[in-house]
């Protein structure tokens, strides 16, 4: 399909589409997206997770999956109760996807529209960093319920997060709230160390007038769990980080239940 002729697609089986975004890379979007998906699942919802990061897919590693043969394997894949789709399932992890923008937009649209997601309460989309093709395609053609902005506390991350927010405002996608990731570290001495400073997420949320959804501590187990294919919400459901995610899932469910902005009416020509 020519991206210039893209149409807003309707996803009849999917109740809510939640995008997890940030301006900057490396703030933990994929970790947040994966754990949020599992936390929503733990709350009894039917959940899908779509990895829209075509160049650097992370979902396969986080769910302990690898490349599959697309000729013989039906998508989406299922693991830990979540329906999954990622570019990483189709490309050798040692290969780079070297594509221009329109091709990315096309792939993202195919993931969304051509993968038989089935009946889902929530489809969480892990967006790539920035405000480029994948983000634009999704915000223009997917019926997004809302977006969650992930940031780390320091200014260098906030400045990019602000741009992400700006993009969603521009295309009228409601911002559900801001999450501050890697907010602090609790040492063995029980003391709270604010490694990357603190309060940035709350400041950004206040500035743009959206809820601050909470701060997530640095826990080495988060990285370990991500790398071994079992996100922390599933592996250590009693850890403080997992509890924060469950709280986040509850907020997302509450937020999604609100009457959101209705889709634009059709034109009678």
């Amino acid at each position: 399909m020519n991206p210039a002729q893209q149409q807003k697609m309707s996803l009849p089986g999917i109740q809510h589409v939640i995008a997890v975004a940030s301006g900057k890379g490396g703030v933990g979007k994929s970790t947040v997206a994966a754990n949020l998906a599992l936390a929503l699942h733990a709350a009894g919802k039917k959940v899908g997770l779509m990895d829209a990061d075509i160049y650097g897919p992370s979902v396969p590693i986080m769910f302990g999956l690898g490349q599959v043969n697309p000729q013989t394997t039906p998508f989406p894949l299922h693991k830990h109760g979540i329906a999954l789709m990622s570019m990483g399932f189709m490309v050798d992890p040692n290969q780079a996807v070297i594509w221009r923008g329109p091709k990315v937009a096309q792939a993202v649209q195919a993931f969304l529209g051509q993968v038989p997601w089935g009946e889902l309460d929530f489809l969480v989309i892990d967006l790539p960093p920035g405000t480029g093709d994948a983000q634009l395609t999704l915000s223009q053609s997917a019926p997004l319920t809302g977006a969650i902005i992930v940031t780390t506390p320091q200014d260098v991350s906030l400045i990019d997060a602000r741009k992400g927010v700006k993009m969603f405002q521009e295309v009228k996608v409601p911002v559900i709230g801001v999450i501050e990731n890697m907010s602090y570290f609790t040492g063995d001495d029980g003391k709270r160390y604010e490694i990357f400073r603190s309060g940035g997420g709350a400041k950004l949320a206040a500035e743009i007038g959206v809820p601050f959804l909470g701060d997530l501590p640095i826990d080495p187990r988060v990285a370990e769990c991500g790398d071994t294919g079992e996100p922390i919400v599933r592996k250590y459901p009693d850890s403080p980080v997992a509890k924060s995610y469950l709280k986040l899932a509850a907020t997302v469910i509450a937020e999604a239940g609100k009457p959101t902005s209705a889709p634009l009416p059709e034109v009678q020509l």
Binding site: Q7, S141, Q169, V171, S261, P263, L264, P265, V267, Q268
Partner: protein
């Protein structure tokens, strides 16, 4: 952002588009005005150039006559994409623009 007016109903009326807005306003904008203010990158660039008095209409433009939409589809939560009878279809009109270009 939340308190901006939203279109409730859009329909063709005469030579243009009539929109009923959530704040009670009713606006009308001619197709000619919409076509002339197409917000796509090509048209914006075209408008920025000094007018070319010797511009030749493409056969499609000449055959099309006055601008008429072939289709007008919602894009996301924020805009409408209009495909015109002259074959141009890349303009995505944000709802604010539809409001701004209209006469009440």
């Amino acid at each position: 952002m939340a308190d901006e007016a939203k279109p409730l109903a859009l329909k063709r009326a005469g030579d243009g588009l009539t929109i009923d807005w959530s704040d009670g306003a009713k606006t009308h904008v001619a197709w000619r005005v919409l076509r002339k203010n197409c917000p796509c990158a090509t048209c914006i660039e075209e408008r920025a150039k000094p007018p070319d008095p010797f511009r030749v209409l493409t056969p499609q433009e000449a055959a099309a006559g006055p601008p008429e939409p072939v289709s007008m589809k919602p894009v996301g939560h924020y805009a409408y994409q209009i495909a015109w009878n002259d074959g141009h279809a890349t303009g995505i009109y944000p709802v604010e623009l539809l409001r701004k270009l209209a006469t009440p």
